[in-house]
Symmetry: C2
Subunit: 349 residues, 2 copies
DNA sequence: CATCGCATTGCATACGAATGCAACGCGATA
DNA sequence: TATCGCGTTGCATTCGTATGCAATGCGATG
């Protein structure tokens, strides 16, 4: 009895049928009579039989496991993505095998991943080199870069329109009458930062302004604090900052208020990116661009399932629109509608 | 070449050895000469061979996979646990298969879990009935309840000393001269809430006070907001609140400040539990009891590895001490040392 | 009544790696 | 030179399930 040692053969024996019959009973669409199925289910139930997913994987060449690579989980955006992605996949009979990458680069975990015969890979807050992405493609394993793109990579990607988001923010801040608009960058090598900054600068330029100052925060809290101190360490300081994501923006706000004694938005406007749950906590009330998690996750699952079912690895690139969410952390220009939060501003789910 | 179709047989053929030799090369401690090993590794490298973990699992009866069941990830405590647990396990060659439970009760995901022949289970922010825990024990699968206990369950558990934490908070608040101390409970059925509340009430009693008022917040943000409004909705209001975890305490603070216009800690002291990263964000500066994640995770991994290696499922119950972390959200009595945060209060990692 | 077709069933094999067992080779020893 | 022992090696089997193929039985049709 130990180690869940009930096999299809045990069930077959008890039900007086062949092992094939047992297998067919648990294979949707297989050819079994109602009568046989009933006998098998009764026996299976009596013995507490559960099909062995590992053995099934070996023969069908499908594990129904998706490898998810993450580099960090302290930016709240990612835990939420993980939760919903997992629920979505679970509904379809798939499960997540987690891999933590040390830095943003996940190449070193790939060999481990490949050992598990997973059906697909999702990279979130981590990137894969084109070389390894190609290797996955050759092996017939679909890869989705979540919230990232890599130029000539064969991997698929799901992102929000970061360039447009950057533009919206530039317009919003200029419309608000700001004249010294600064930028705190995330990881300068990341596609999210490049796109957000690119759109932002482009639109600033179109509107006849230049980015007044720029510091790098590397998407970390400590980096954001330092960047803020550098940015505001001079006699003349910015009257607005665009911070490349909410995670940093919150640290920026705290630093501005509690270390530099500035008032938001009276002394300085702050805008972030992502719309993480904390962004509408009353302490922050952060104006930001939403990256809609649900649509992004749905797209990710669709891409994966599509490629898995058709057994063809393609390069799908899905981009969902982002939406400016206006709250109170930045001066509000004429014509912008302030986000109406739920009855309680803290109803997060 | 597709589907990573390189098997140990292919390698054996190329290296002019038997399949056994290939297997032994990749099995630490097996009997192979240096010479053979070299040939095999060369061939394996040339073909890009990776042992198939699924096939290995089938024969060795060990998957090196730990099933982790979580009910939600919005309380920051859990993503961090997940991250570190995953890193710890990865170092030892184990990986996490994630399961999301719908409510706190995880019984319905167990059948799915069992199909994957996992070597152990960790339940975090989710509970298993004693019946199913017993089933796992019978199947030889160790189960660790993380941050939870269940009375007569055969499952192991790792917790911090919640009773003592509750006592420390009572003492701290009474020492602070508070006279109307309220409590906002989490999930009343959870062991964490019971223990924290139990220790708290016991010590209050010992010090000659009673809990002035109590509301239930169910460990959710919305619940905490409502509980706060009920608790402070009368003419006479508490001069201190103990909130059963930080996640809720933050919502409580925001509600007190921005909805009720109260000042912390001048009008009311707030104390939480867990010491999540947000607790030392300058906006909150929350006094709380730390549940030390690293020791708790180490204990969890030790328990799992111990039981897996000895092939014996026991009921280990590990309890690590908690520590009161004094910050600025509650009036500070004589004799308590305020926590010195790192250079930057935002250096979280 | 003979024939055909379809649905159901069992047999045998395959998936990829680990391992008990026996055989082998080599050097050391008597 | 014959024997012993140890370190290597290959053979054959095993893990638990899925599935192609052939065999069976049944009712329907002519």
């Amino acid at each position: 009895m130990r180690r869940g040692k009930v096999t299809s053969i045990d069930v077959a024996r008890l039900a007086n049928v062949s092992q094939s019959a047992v297998s067919r009973t648990f294979t949707p669409g297989a050819s079994v009579s109602e009568e046989t199925k009933r006998k098998v289910l009764t026996a299976a139930n009596a013995l507490g039989y559960r099909p062995n997913a590992i053995a099934r994987t070996l023969i069908t060449q499908r594990s129904r496991i998706i490898g998810v690579v993450v580099a960090y989980l302290d930016n709240q955006f990612y835990p939420l993505v993980l939760e919903w992605l997992s629920r979505d996949l679970q509904k379809r009979g798939y499960h997540i095998l987690m891999f933590m990458a040390d830095t943003g680069d996940a190449d070193h975990v790939l060999p481990e991943i490949l050992q598990y015969q997973i059906d697909g890979i999702v990279m979130a807050s981590a990137t894969l080199s084109s070389g390894l992405a190609q290797e996955c493609a050759d092996a017939g394993i679909p890869v989705v870069l979540f919230n990232r793109t890599v130029p000539r990579s064969p991997a698929s990607s799901v992102t929000s329109d970061n360039v447009d988001g950057g533009r919206q923010i530039a317009r919003f801040l200029v419309d608000g009458g700001h004249e010294r608009i600064g930028f705190i960058a995330g990881d300068p090598d990341s596609s999210t930062n490049r796109d957000r900054e690119g759109g932002f600068l482009e639109e600033m330029n179109r509107l006849g302004q230049r980015c007044w100052a720029r510091e790098v925060g590397n998407y970390s809290l400590a980096g954001a604090v330092d960047a803020t101190e550098r940015l505001f360490g001079h006699a003349e300081r910015p009257d607005a900052v665009f911070v490349a994501n909410d995670h940093m923006a919150i640290a920026v706000m705290d630093t501005l208020r509690y270390k530099l004694g500035l008032s938001i938005p009276d002394d300085v406007s702050v805008v972030g990116y992502d719309n993480v749950p904390q962004a509408h906590w009353p302490s922050y009330n952060l104006t930001t661009v939403e990256q809609p998690p649900k649509p992004m996750i749905e797209a990710t699952v669709d891409v994966l399932m599509g490629q898995i079912e058709s057994r063809s690895v393609r390069r799908d690139a899905i981009e969902v629109p982002g939406r400016l969410v206006v709250r109170a952390s930045a001066r509000i220009p004429e014509g912008y509608r302030v986000e109406e939060e739920n009855a309680s501003a803290l109803e997060l789910r």
